[in-house]
Symmetry: C2
Subunit: 431 residues, 2 copies
């Protein structure tokens, strides 16, 4: 599928520095707050954000059927609900207007003044009003590693895992945008060898290096979606850190799954990178151990994406420590398989729903997507640049996820997904 907005030779009249995640081939969507307290939908090129509300008002989307206030909103839900045809028309138009050769806006200083902002002058907000949030568990390496630690070798990968894209429902309310600090959560934990739980701040706050995809309105209640059509309903992807308190999780999770060990916070990156922008980076996923059931069999083979993923720990002295490097392509189940599975019982999926990949771990130790795995349950601490060690995160640690694709000298990235862990709050009531 040739999409002109992806042409690698295209340049913008806005400056884009080497290694920037946001060349004119990206055109992600986000929501931001200006210094004048105006909330609007925008896109980004280089170090500039583009107010699509003003862009639309000044006529640059002429000919594309859009409501007048489509971009003057505090979430992308309505735009996402409009569907793929609209997303493409809008993205292609933005690419055309910002093309180095197009003078229309380039040479209109007055318009540029109201449309273009320096990224430093705006505050990025959560780009969607998340309806339902589902988290999958689709990295075989991660599922195996956690299984080894929580349940031992015999029960590491459960018998259902190779048949079912296992997932569970998460908490939407506590999804926050990159840059939001997180409080170390309190909870019940069972000290090793004890019979009764204790209460206090979690001692094992962890990250989960994930991506997540955002859907449009997929189906009505009761109507499954075929796996080969599922990708039509996916708007784009973000980086996603599903913060986890391993000690709380371990005590609570049998039999109904993770709850309080997860729902205190999840961090998402502010720019939704569209599936159209990621199209050139399609690749094959891991070979399946056997054919899944027919409703999960995909016709095309390049159902994964080659997205490099990294996690960094920034200590309070400002030093940045690379914790892990992995890749989205290690995912055993594709996003289309996840979505087909999610709807096969008739469960309805709506615009603004978010589906996390689950922690993405690669095959080697340096590519694991959580501290739980990187330090093997805390037994093998990591040493940081400042000489200190970590099993899980300390108060004051900042966790930063990054992700990007490269091909033909084009780099499409997600920007940062970061969050700082603050000390537990002081309780005002007896605990």
């Amino acid at each position: 599928m040739q999409i002109s907005a992806n042409n690698p030779t295209r340049k913008s009249w806005l400056p884009v520095s080497e290694g920037c995640d946001f060349p004119i081939q990206n055109i992600p969507f986000g929501v931001f707050l200006t210094k004048d307290d105006i909330i609007t939908i925008g896109t980004r090129i280089g170090e500039y954000v583009i107010d699509l509300g003003a862009f639309h008002q000044l006529g640059y989307f002429k000919g594309i059927p859009l409501t007048d206030d489509m971009f003057m909103q505090d979430s992308l839900n309505d735009f996402i609900s409009d569907g793929r045809k609209t997303w493409r028309l809008v993205r292609n138009r933005i690419a055309d207007v910002f093309d180095a050769k197009n003078p229309a806006l380039r040479d209109n200083a007055k318009h540029k003044e109201v449309i273009i902002f320096d990224i430093k002058d705006v505050e990025m907000l959560l780009p969607i009003n998340v309806g339902d949030y589902t988290d999958f568990y689709s990295s075989k390496e991660h599922a195996t590693n956690v299984g080894l630690m929580f349940r031992g070798k015999e029960n590491a990968l459960m018998p259902n895992w190779l048949h079912v894209p296992v997932g569970y429902h998460g908490r939407s309310s506590s999804i926050v945008v990159s840059g939001t600090s997180i409080r170390r959560p309190y909870g019940q934990t069972l000290p090793a060898g004890k019979e009764n739980p204790i209460f206090g701040p979690s001692q094992k706050v962890d990250m989960e290096l994930e991506t997540a995809f955002i859907t449009t309105d997929v189906n009505n209640l009761g109507e499954p979606v075929p796996v080969d059509e599922a990708s039509e309903y996916i708007f784009g992807m973000v980086l996603f850190n599903d913060w986890s308190a391993r000690d709380i999780q371990k005590w609570e999770y049998v039999p109904l799954g993770p709850f309080m060990g997860k729902n205190f916070a999840s961090t998402m990156s502010p720019w939704i990178v569209t599936m159209d922008a990621l199209e050139p980076f399609r690749c094959e996923g891991p070979k399946k151990e056997f054919k899944p059931l027919p409703y999960l069999q995909q016709k095309r083979k390049d159902t994964s994406y080659d997205i490099k993923l990294q996690a960094f720990l920034a200590t309070e002295n400002g030093e940045s420590n690379l914790l892990t490097e992995t890749n989205f392509k290690y995912m055993y189940w594709s996003m289309s398989q996840q979505l087909a599975h999610h709807t096969v019982n008739g469960c309805n999926v709506r615009a603004g729903d978010l589906m996390g990949s689950g922690t993405i771990s690669g095959p080697t130790k340096g590519s694991f997507g959580s501290m739980l795995e990187l330090t093997w349950g805390g037994k093998e601490p990591l040493t940081l640049k400042d000489g200190s060690t970590r099993t899980f995160f300390n108060d004051g640690d900042k966790v930063i996820l990054k992700g990007y694709c490269t091909k033909d000298n084009v780099r499409i990235g997600f920007g940062n997904c970061s969050g700082k862990l603050l000390p537990p709050i002081k309780y005002k009531f007896p605990i």
Copy 2:
């Protein structure tokens, strides 16, 4: 706490027949669609619904600080967000205006014509836009019964259960209002003794007899709520049937909990009965086996409610079969404990969030809240009036939950929570 609207001697000028769930002491809140396609918020007395949008517009809420369009909305979320003081002012005012002795509206035929509708002339809609839906698992009898069947005697009640109000996140999108038919879901199941799963319609579609409570805005992310304050944030309760496909659930639920076995549908009753209306029916819950951790210890003892609950199966010939009779008071963990637990890690809870009780089972067989328990995993089928038997539900079966409290000749009820199970849809793609 004396709330005048609960005075048992009060009568309304609207007729209320013996045994009706909606006397003037109830005043529940719901959303309905009129024959003229107008969606509005209303309450109910006897067989009449009261359009609170029109009631407000005609000045009957004079003196109560409410926005003009507070009741001309398609969900109660904004009203619920206004908080307990407003709920009480509004409920008390409605009680006053519909009091038999008050002529203001009683004797105004023109106003009555635009405010009051026959229940038969309106269609009840989902009363809230559900944000996050959490389902607890707080009936000890249910947890024990399911544990016995799924995991055997040794692991029936997990070690965490008596310490933790166990819960998990459910699916908001597939919550439907009473009266909506449900499709039998497809899914993966593992036939007994086999190694590989098969795909097809679930053979074990079950009900879960639950109540659910609806919250206002409870807390900001990171700020726990003390257990003794939690009840201030609960707006009211509904009946809730958390449809479950036991065969799908059994194959998928380890280790992340129920997902596709549950998220195809949950049915809620249309009228939210306020906690103020339920106040006279407070009672003590079961004795705790030991003191829970301090954050779950409640000062007051009457933390439960004496709500009689029933489930009926209506066969296609129209006959109604009583399946079970149980009571909300059997719940081991109170709603306040559930909410305190849910926020203790800082998880934020918002207006319109829904918290299910989990299946409510009593101590005896006739009081179990699911077919799984009533037929002991299908081993002991129930015989219906028409001579047919059931282990789980057949296509065409209608499940009806009812719930009510009685005291001082006042009956406060929830109305019906019903749903009919339709045959599985015909797939348009290969499965």
